[in-house]
Amino acid sequence: MGFNSKKNQIMKNKNRPLSPHLQIYKPQITSILSISHRFTGVILYLSTFLVSLWLFCTAFNSNLKIILNNFLFSHLGQVVLFFISLSFTYHLLNGLRHIIWDFGYGFNIKNVYLTGFVIIFLTLTINIYIWFF
């Protein structure tokens, strides 16, 4: 069969990249915020492991409890906790935005951008306030 035969063309089309093609998809605030919701959701799921571990140590093993608490109050531990609280704040606020969308409000592009910026601003303000004041 020739290289440019009809069948070959169809095969080519079947292998087309699925959208959105991440290497050529232009990052925009909308897409970044959208994937951030998913990303923070996964981080939060992983942090429930930490909560579970902390509860377990606090309840059953005072040695492990001391080690874990020392870690959480070390610099690295505080950075971990900072990112968890950042994720939680962001996910909560953006989740609210999701739910407002689900009721049919805020869909025009102007409002999507506006609420997006409001959420970034609030997330940063709340976390800076909690951690530095």
Binding site: G41, T58, L92
Partner: protein
């Protein structure tokens, strides 16, 4: 109606997409509600979190609040993680294995946390 109720009380874990979607949102709203209550009740103990948590959870209402919160969080996030695997895992068989594994892990998380919380609650200090 009966069919709807059956789907609804699968808590989002049936194959039905609508009930998954609704429960993801119900749990989200519940979390916001409980979270606000917890933050307000925490405000009464502003010393050291690790010590305070132990005394905070010794009040029965707080224990119940915490357990419900944890249940809702794990419910919500398990539905969310299932959704993510639904999107990125192509093979049906692998999807089945991963979702079973995920549910088991979530169940274990709940089991460990509830037992531990109960233990802290009933410890005499």
């Amino acid at each position: 109606m009966f069919n709807f109720l059956r789907k609804f009380f699968s808590f989002g874990f049936s194959k039905d997409g609508l009930s998954h979607w609704i429960w993801q949102r119900i749990s989200a709203l519940l979390m916001i509600l409980i979270f606000v209550v917890i933050v307000f009740s925490f405000q009464k103990l502003p010393i050291a979190f690790t010590k305070d948590f132990n005394s905070w959870i010794k009040t029965p209402i707080n224990l119940i609040l915490f357990i419900i919160f944890f249940l809702v969080v794990v419910h919500h996030s398990t539905l969310g993680m299932l959704n993510i695997f639904e999107d990125y895992v192509q093979s049906k068989k692998r999807k089945k294995i991963i979702s079973t594994l995920l549910k088991m892990i979530s169940f274990l998380l709940i089991f460990i946390s509830v037992i531990s919380a109960w233990n802290i609650y009933s410890k005499i200090v």
